[in-house]
Symmetry: C2
Subunit: 110 residues, 2 copies
C-alpha cells in the first residue's frame, strides 16, 4: 500500500497539480514522471509528495515545500521547465496548478 | 474525461484529503462518497472539488472553500461527522488532512 507523505508541523507550502492526461505517449510520460520525482527529491526545500491517477487518466499530485522560494526554484529548474513545455504539447489535455500555504494538518492511521 | 474544478481568483481555502482505502465495504464506501459529494455541493462556501483514486485504493480529494469558517461548518455537519467516524472504523487504513490558503493559481487547456 502507498505511504502517505509525512510532513513537519505547519506552516509550509503545497502545490496542487490536478491534470487530465491525453492518451498520447504513455512511455514518454512515465519516463518524465519518474525523472521529475527523482529530481524533486533532490531539490532544496522539498518535503514530500502524494499522487493518485484514476483509470480515466485524471490525476492529482500534491507536493509539499518548505517555502514559496523552494517552489519557485523548482518551477524554474531547467529540466523541469522543459518537462512543463512537453507536458503542454504531449501529455496533458488540461491541468490546474494551485499554490497554497498549509495552516493546519492532522492524520490518522489504523 | 473529468472536468477540473473551476475556482474564483485566490485567495480561497482548500482541504487536501490523502487517503488509503481498506479493502472493506466497497458498496458502503461508494454510497457514502456519493452522499458526501451531494451534501458538500449544498454547503455554503463550497467552491468545487477534484478527486482521483488509483487502482491500489490510494486517493486524493481536494475541495475548495471560500473561507476557513465554511470548512469548519462542513467538518462539523452531523451527517459528515458521522461519515468521518465510519471512515476511521471501516473505510480508511490511513489518511491525512491538510487545510491551506490558496495564494496563486493558473490553468491550461488544449
Amino acid at each position: 500500500m502507498s505511504e502517505i507523505a509525512k510532513t513537519p508541523e505547519p506552516p509550509y507550502y503545497v502545490t496542487i497539480f490536478a491534470n487530465q492526461r491525453t492518451l498520447d505517449d504513455e512511455l514518454g510520460y512515465q519516463e518524465m514522471a519518474a525523472r521529475m520525482n527523482e529530481l524533486a527529491m533532490q531539490q532544496p526545500g522539498f518535503l514530500g509528495a502524494d499522487s493518485a491517477r484514476d483509470g480515466d487518466g485524471f490525476g492529482i499530485t500534491v507536493s509539499y515545500w518548505r517555502d514559496e522560494g523552494s517552489i519557485q526554484n523548482w518551477r524554474e529548474r531547467g529540466e523541469h521547465a522543459e518537462a512543463q513545455q512537453r507536458g503542454k504539447h504531449n501529455w496533458y489535455a488540461e491541468f490546474s496548478v494551485r499554490i497554497a500555504r498549509v495552516e493546519r494538518a492532522y492524520d490518522f492511521k489504523k
